[in-house]
Every structure is written in structure tokens, then in C-alpha cells.
């Protein structure tokens, strides 16, 4: 099986090399059959990498420990769902996933343009195959997923317990889909510049992919935040970690691009800016992939033993240099057709929105790479922490939310005072009413959060007004009922109204972020059973300890050997609110040196947090039992000395009983956060709005069908 996988990689590299050559030669010499052959080689690449990925997936599901990567990141005690997901938990497996997804998305993009933009598509094919070839080469030289060891070890090391969480099963494929989709507009942008065809066609073609990249990247980021909140045991969802930042940067430039593309479509402006954003977004996506694998920055998410820095730096160097050269050398072709007429216009607001987004990206880029920048400038490696990021990102985020409320309602070209009064009176009044209501309940001690709530109310007001006016106009024309008119309104202009829904979702998300970060209550303390504490108006009582020893059948189904925890009673003003059961799972290390008993719980320890989540607040709890206390340690030591491997679980059972009968103080972490739920609800609204916007409009489908029919008829006639 490993030989088949390795052969697939070699074949994939050969196909990439052929496809690049055929596409470039075909485009330069005007040979459409070669361009066509180059495009088909992308399909072939997708097929080959699908086989390679299937080989690795089967190896994981069958516990084939002859594969080094399977032995390193999976085990028989890893539940089947997580064994399947363990493929992308290793450096080499994740590279294969990247290349595979790239080949699939590239195939889809090139299939959709198979009858158009032949020259641009040929160059784009070469770029996409070049990127795929780069990743395949990495797998052949630096990190092969198909390396084997004979004889195979009897058991693998297991998937890291931190990754045994449903969100982590889909987070990497979604995030990688976002990253790889970012390269499609990049490839077509380069193709358009090389072919000197920088008209609106390539933008129309790749806009949907840019949107899909934005949507999936955003979803992946949010899934990662959810994992961090629910699993990592610190109760936060964003830590300004280098790898988190790396995924946020292309998302920010992608957001800017989606807005400024509208100006290019409507007014023929910002062509250089848009092309630069396309190239920057693709390059930042590659940089995000590089950051995890290079080991150049400290991050909790970085791959251990990262060694791929040099090849990635070379690739990024080529991308940046090539992008700058192409944009500068084609500057005349990218000249704007119109100029900005007034500062109070939709174009100006979109431009301001772009500047804020790019500014945010620059701030995050600077902060993320500051350790390298400071070392280069001062010779000393220094880093900046979350307060530094917050200092800049909070005001910029406020400006962004405000602009997202102004943009949809301000007029194109030039807004008049009458227009402004007509469009802004209701949203401004709603924002002021929100402000007054919050001041009345004493929220003035957090002015930035207060400003965010007011801005969010403004956005919701302006979007609601747009929906109201659109529906009213539709009812007046078609005499439909309100729900029908609303649906028809959205169906007829999915991009516009889907975009509005996205704006509302982002405003809701920011309300959740502002509230949960500004008005959070937290406590960390040790409690004995029977003791209680008060956090944010809630009384939390440690009722009793819990312990389970159910290998492969533990409560969280993550494969832990032993789980120690607590039952907590949460009440408010004497009324019961929730019963929570946080625990900590202990996993088999597989290390014989730790003893027959010790290795069963000597691996990673992972918090299984427990929370009562609601629309107004989350009560979040985590426990760190003192498993290293002397009595428990003595049980393990005695078990190691006396028990054979097949009876080692007896000692674990005794340890669990001892923990229950003579419980020591356990360390708890309690957090009461308001409105966290709205972050996830906002994310779902954004996703829903994104789907509405990306879905082909019925008229477009019909137009495409109509366009196809005569062509098909003509083809059939010609054949006859």
C-alpha cells in the first residue's frame, strides 16, 4: 500500500511537470489542444492525489503501523472517528490534504472555465500545477506520508487527546479549503496579467472562488475558536497566536477584495488595488501554511520538528517578486476608468473599509512577525502580546463595524444631504437609543464595548431598513404578502442581500466578542468537596468528586484510560441553575518505561470542560485534579512493581476509588462570560448570508442553460 501511495506522489509530480509545460507552451504558441491537455492534467492530478489520500486514510483506519505517520499519530485506542481525522494531524498528512484539496478546487475552477478565457486559464493552470508540484515535492523530499518501518510497532502513539474533539475533525479540512481556494484567484490573476487580459471576465470567473475562500477560511477560523473555547482549558477563543493570526490575515484582505471588486464592476476603478489584493491574499494564504511548518515563530499550533522553512521562503519570495513585477509591468492596463467623485459616496466608504481592513492586516502582520523584525533591526528577538494587538485592532474593528452599516445605504458617486437624512436617521436613532439604554443600566465603565454595541445597533438598523424598503417596494409592484415579497427580494439579488445578512452576522459576532471580553468574571481556586465560591453573581459548589475508568468508552468518547472530575452545583440567588461535570482525562502514553500501570495514565492529560451555555451568559468550568498527590502516586508505584500488564487496570480502578473516598482539594477554573453564544450565532448568520450570496441566482442558472443549449444544438448539428 505504501508503495502505491509513493508511486502516486511520483506520478503526481510528473503530471504537474507535464501540465505546466503543456499549458505554458500552449498559451505562448497559441496551441489550444496543449492548453486543453494541461487542463486535463489537473483533473488527472486530482485523481492521483485522491488515490494517495485514500491509501493513507485506509492505513489509519486499519491501524497499519508500518506507516510511520500512522504509528506516530494514531493507535488502536484512538476512536475510529478520530483515527480518520488523524490523517491531517501530522505534518506529512496535512501536506497531502493541502495538495489534494488544491487539486480538487483547481479542477472545479478550470472545469467551470473550460470554454472561456483559454489563454488566461492556461497560465492559471500552470500556476496551480506549480503550487501543487511544490507540495508534492515537499512530500517526496522532506515529509513523506508513505515512509514505513518494518517490523511494525505493536501499537501507535495515539492521536493527541487535544485533537479528539468533533470540531477538530472538520476544522483543518475547512481551513485548508479556504487556504487552497485563495490560490484560485491568485492563479487567475497571474494568468490575466501574463495574458494581458485584465478585463472584467477573469474577475467574474474567480469572484465566486474568492467568496468561497473567504467563507471557508472564516468558518475554519471560527471552528478553531470554538475548539479553543471548548477544549483547551483556558476559556478563551482568541489569543493572538501567530498561527491564528496567519489565518486571519488572508481573510481580512479577502474581505477587502470582495468589497473593492464591486467598485471595479460598477465603476471600473481600483484595478491595481484589486489585483494587488488578489495576489496578496493568495500569498498570505501560502504564508499561513508556511508559518505552521517553518518553526520560525513560537506558536502553540506549530508542527513539532518543523523543517520546511527554506522551501517555503523560496516559494513566498517567488510569489512576492513575481506579483510586484507583474503589477508594475502591467500598470498601464490596470488604469482606472473613473475617478473618485466625492468623499461622501459608496465608493469612498468602500475604499475606507478597504483601508481599515488592510490596516488591520498590516497591524496583525507587524505584530505576528515582530520577533523576526525586531531581531533583524535591533539584534534582539522581542515579541508583543495581546494588549498591543488590542490597542490597534479594537478601534479598527469599531471603524469597520460602523462602515459596514454606512456602506450598504449610502449612494453611489455622490451622496446628498437629503439622501443621508433619508438613509441614516432611523439607524442613528436606533444606535442612540441602544447607547442610552446601556448607559441607563451602568455599562459606561467599558466605553469601547459600549461604542461597539452602538455601532452594531446602527448596522442592524441600516440593514433592517434596507430589507424593509426593498420588501415594501416589491409588495407595491407585485402585490405579494410580506414573507413572499421578502423571499423574492433576496432571490432576485442574492449577492446584495446575502452580503447584508453577512454584515448583520458580523455585527452580532462583534457584540459577543465585546461583551464577553469586557464583562467577564473569572476565578481560579482550590476547593474541597462541600466548599463553594461566588463568581459573577453565581454560586458554584463542589458537590462530590467523580472518577471513571472506561478505556475506549469514556464519557467524552475520546479514548482516555482514566477520567477524574467533579460534580458542581451552580445556583443564583438560591435557585438551581445547572449541574456541571468538568473532568480531566488521562491517556495511555504507550511508554513501557513508565511501568505497567504508569503508562496507562502517563500520556497527555486533557481538560473536559463543562459549561452551561445560554443566550445571555455562559458558566464555564474546568478542573485540574491533583493526580500527583502522594497517595495516588504510591498506588501507581506499587502497581508498577507488582502487577503484570494484563492486570494493570486493577491499580487504575483502585486509584479511582481512592480518589473518590479520600478526595484532595482540586484546582478549579470558573468563568462567567456574557453573550459568548452570540459569537457562534453571529458566525452561523455570516455563514448563512455567505451561502445566500454565493448561491447562483436562478436567472444566472437559466442564462447559463440558455447559453449552453444553442451551443449544444450547434455541436450536435455539426456532428450530424
Amino acid at each position: 500500500m505504501a508503495a502505491l501511495g509513493h508511486t502516486c506522489l511520483l506520478l503526481a509530480l510528473a503530471v504537474c511537470a507535464y501540465g505546466i509545460g503543456a499549458s505554458l507552451y500552449g498559451a505562448r504558441r497559441g496551441r489550444p489542444e496543449l492548453c486543453e491537455s494541461g487542463r486535463r492534467s489537473v483533473y488527472a492530478l486530482a485523481g492521483i492525489l485522491t488515490v494517495a489520500f485514500a491509501v493513507l486514510e485506509v492505513a489509519f483506519l486499519r491501524n497499519d503501523f508500518t506507516f510511520n505517520t500512522v504509528a506516530d499519530t494514531s493507535s488502536r485506542t484512538t476512536p475510529a472517528l478520530y483515527r480518520a481525522a488523524a490523517v491531517w494531524s501530522s505534518q506529512e498528512g496535512s501536506l497531502l490534504l493541502w495538495a489534494w484539496l488544491l487539486s480538487l478546487w483547481s479542477s472545479l475552477a478550470l472545469f467551470l472555465v473550460r470554454r472561456r478565457m483559454r489563454e488566461v486559464a492556461a497560465y492559471a493552470t500552470a500556476v496551480l500545477l506549480g503550487l501543487a508540484g511544490f507540495f508534492v515535492t515537499l512530500m517526496l523530499i522532506y515529509a513523506t506520508p508513505f515512509a514505513t518501518t518494518h517490523p511494525a510497532p505493536a501499537e501507535g502513539a495515539g492521536l493527541d487527546p487535544l485533537l479528539r474533539f468533533p470540531t477538530m475533525v472538520i476544522h483543518p479540512p475547512v481551513l485548508y479549503s479556504g487556504y487552497t481556494l485563495c490560490t484560485i484567484p491568485l492563479a487567475f490573476g497571474v494568468g490575466a496579467l501574463l495574458a494581458r487580459r485584465v478585463d472584467a471576465d477573469w474577475i467574474r470567473t474567480t469572484r465566486r472562488f474568492a467568496f468561497a475562500a473567504w467563507l471557508l477560511l472564516g468558518t475554519g477560523i471560527l471552528l478553531g475558536a470554538r475548539w479553543s473555547y471548548s477544549v483547551l482549558g483556558w476559556g478563551g477563543y482568541w489569543g493572538w497566536d501567530a498561527v491564528e493570526n496567519a489565518s486571519l490575515m488572508p481573510w481580512l484582505t479577502g474581505t477587502a477584495l470582495l468589497h473593492s471588486l464591486m467598485i471595479q464592476e460598477k465603476r471600473g476603478m481600483l484595478k491595481v488595488w484589486n489585483m494587488s489584493l488578489v495576489l496578496a491574499t493568495g500569498t498570505l494564504a501560502i504564508m499561513g501554511t508556511f508559518l505552521v511548518r517553518s518553526g520560525i515563530l513560537s506558536s502553540i499550533h506549530a508542527f513539532g520538528g518543523a523543517t520546511l522553512g527554506v522551501p517555503f521562503v523560496a516559494l513566498i519570495g517567488v510569489l512576492v517578486t513575481g506579483s510586484v513585477y507583474l503589477v508594475v509591468s502591467r500598470a498601464k492596463l490596470l488604469r482606472s476608468e473613473h475617478r473618485l467623485e466625492a468623499l461622501l459616496s459608496r465608493e469612498s466608504i468602500f475604499l475606507a473599509n478597504n483601508l481599515v481592513l488592510v490596516g488591520l492586516c498590516f497591524v496583525i502582520f507587524w505584530g505576528t512577525y515582530f520577533p523576526l523584525i525586531s531581531e533583524a533591526l535591533s539584534g534582539r528577538e522581542q515579541s508583543v502580546g495581546p494588549p498591543w494587538f488590542d490597542r490597534y485592532t479594537v478601534p479598527l474593528a469599531l471603524a469597520l463595524v460602523l462602515l459596514s452599516g454606512i456602506g450598504p445605504v449610502i449612494a453611489w458617486r455622490r451622496a446628498t444631504l437629503a439622501n443621508a437624512r433619508r438613509n441614516f436617521t432611523a439607524p442613528v436613532l436606533l444606535a442612540l437609543a441602544t447607547l442610552a439604554a446601556l448607559l441607563a443600566v451602568g455599562a459606561q465603565r467599558k466605553p469601547l464595548a459600549l461604542a461597539m454595541f452602538a455601532c452594531a445597533a446602527f448596522v442592524v438598523g441600516s440593514i433592517a431598513q434596507e430589507f424593509f424598503r426593498g420588501t415594501r417596494a416589491r409588495r407595491a409592484i407585485a402585490r405579494e404578502r410580506v414573507p413572499i415579497a421578502l423571499l423574492a427580494l433576496v432571490r432576485r439579488n442574492r449577492r446584495r442581500y446575502g452580503g447584508y445578512v453577512v454584515h448583520v452576522g458580523m455585527a452580532v459576532l462583534f457584540v459577543g466578542v465585546a461583551a464577553s471580553s469586557s464583562f467577564q468574571h473569572a476565578a481560579e481556586l482550590a476547593l474541597f468537596p462541600g466548599q463553594s465560591t461566588r463568581v459573577g453573581g453565581y454560586t458554584i459548589r463542589y458537590v462530590r468528586p467523580t472518577a471513571t475508568i472506561t478505556p475506549r468508552q469514556d464519557a467524552a468518547h475520546t479514548g482516555s484510560t482514566l477520567s477524574l472530575g467533579a460534580v458542581l452545583d451552580v445556583s443564583k440567588r438560591g435557585r438551581h441553575v445547572a449541574t456541571l461535570r468538568p473532568s480531566e482525562g488521562y491517556y495511555d502514553s504507550g511508554e513501557a518505561a513508565q511501568g505497567t500501570v504508569g503508562h496507562l495514565i502517563g500520556g497527555q492529560a486533557v481538560s473536559h470542560i463543562s459549561m452551561s451555555a445560554g443566550l445571555t451568559r455562559d458558566v464555564w468550568t474546568a478542573i485540574a485534579p491533583n493526580i500527583s498527590s502522594s497517595p495516588l502516586r504510591r498506588i501507581v508505584t506499587a502497581g508498577n512493581r507488582t502487577l503484570p500488564p494484563d492486570q494493570a487496570l486493577v491499580a487504575i480502578a483502585y486509584l479511582a476509588r481512592s480518589y473518590l473516598s479520600k478526595p484532595a482539594a482540586a484546582q478549579f477554573h470558573f468563568i462567567v462570560s456574557p453573550l459568548v453564544m452570540w459569537i457562534w450565532i453571529g458566525g452561523v448568520i455570516v455563514f448563512g448570508g455567505g451561502l445566500i450570496a454565493i448561491w447562483p441566482a436562478p436567472s444566472t442558472v437559466r442564462r447559463a442553460e440558455r447559453a449552453r443549449s444553442p451551443a449544444r444544438a450547434a455541436g450536435e448539428l455539426a456532428q450530424a
Binding site: G233, Q382, Q604
Partner: protein, 138 residues
């Protein structure tokens, strides 16, 4: 004002604003940054009251928890100097002896106190099997 002059003024204002913001960004990043040091560098350079980002490996047998305070030693990856750290705050799940960590510390008269919630443990897993030495021994 004619349109081209107007554009020039706008461009000048925009560039000036960008230059001011960039200067603020550069200034604050250098003034707010904590030097990232290894234990041996910290032992040589530490100044009382200043914050440092300490990067190293948790010394085997050094982890003690007393109440809410976690005491542990941090040494260079290659061994050598050990810095004792007293830390309060959230302890990430992967924290344990032998693991590589990053923590912001302040020199308080020869005693290094970790800044609350600043402890980061490099996740070894994501993606590499932890070497035997990094696992907890009983």
C-alpha cells in the same frame, strides 16, 4: 481648487496619516515588547521590574503546586542554567515536565514571577510524537 490639485492634497493627507500611524505602530511595538530570552540569557541580562518572555523547557521534578501558585524551573533546551518561576493563572493542558514553554516573567529581586495567564505550552502533538523524555514518569 482644480481636480488635480485636490487629488494631490488628498494623497498628501492620506500618506501623512499613514506615515503617522506607521510610526505609532513601530514606536509602540518596540516600547511594549518583551525581549524573548532563554534561561541562560535571562540569568545574565535580567533587570528588576522589567518583563521578559522566557522560552525554555520545564525541568524534570521541579513542578510544585502550592495553593494557586505553580512553581517550576525552566532550563535551556540544551540544559544548563535553570530559572525558577512562580506562576499564577491558567495552566494549559499540555504543560508538564520536559515540555517546551513560553511564559512572560518579571524579575522581582532575584525571584521570577510569571505574568498571570501568560503561560503557553508548545503543543508537541499537533503533531509530533512527544519523545519519551517529555512524558510524565511515575
Amino acid at each position: 481648487m482644480n481636480p488635480s490639485r485636490k487629488r494631490a492634497v488628498r494623497l498628501t493627507v492620506a500618506l501623512s496619516a499613514a506615515a503617522v500611524l506607521a510610526s505609532a505602530l513601530i514606536y509602540t511595538s518596540f516600547s511594549a515588547a518583551s525581549p524573548a530570552l532563554s534561561p541562560s540569557q535571562l540569568a545574565r541580562q535580567a533587570q528588576p521590574g522589567r518583563s521578559y518572555q522566557l522560552t525554555g523547557t520545564v525541568v524534570a521534578g521541579s513542578v510544585r503546586r502550592a495553593g494557586g501558585v505553580l512553581d517550576f524551573g525552566v532550563k535551556d533546551r540544551a540544559g544548563g542554567t535553570t530559572i525558577p518561576v512562580s506562576y499564577t493563572g491558567t495552566v494549559p493542558d499540555p504543560f508538564r515536565e520536559g515540555r517546551e514553554i513560553i511564559v512572560t516573567v518579571q524579575d522581582q529581586g532575584g525571584r521570577f514571577v510569571g505574568e498571570r495567564d501568560s503561560l503557553i505550552t508548545k503543543c508537541p502533538s499537533k503533531y509530533q510524537t512527544a519523545p519519551a523524555g517529555e512524558k510524565q514518569n511515575y
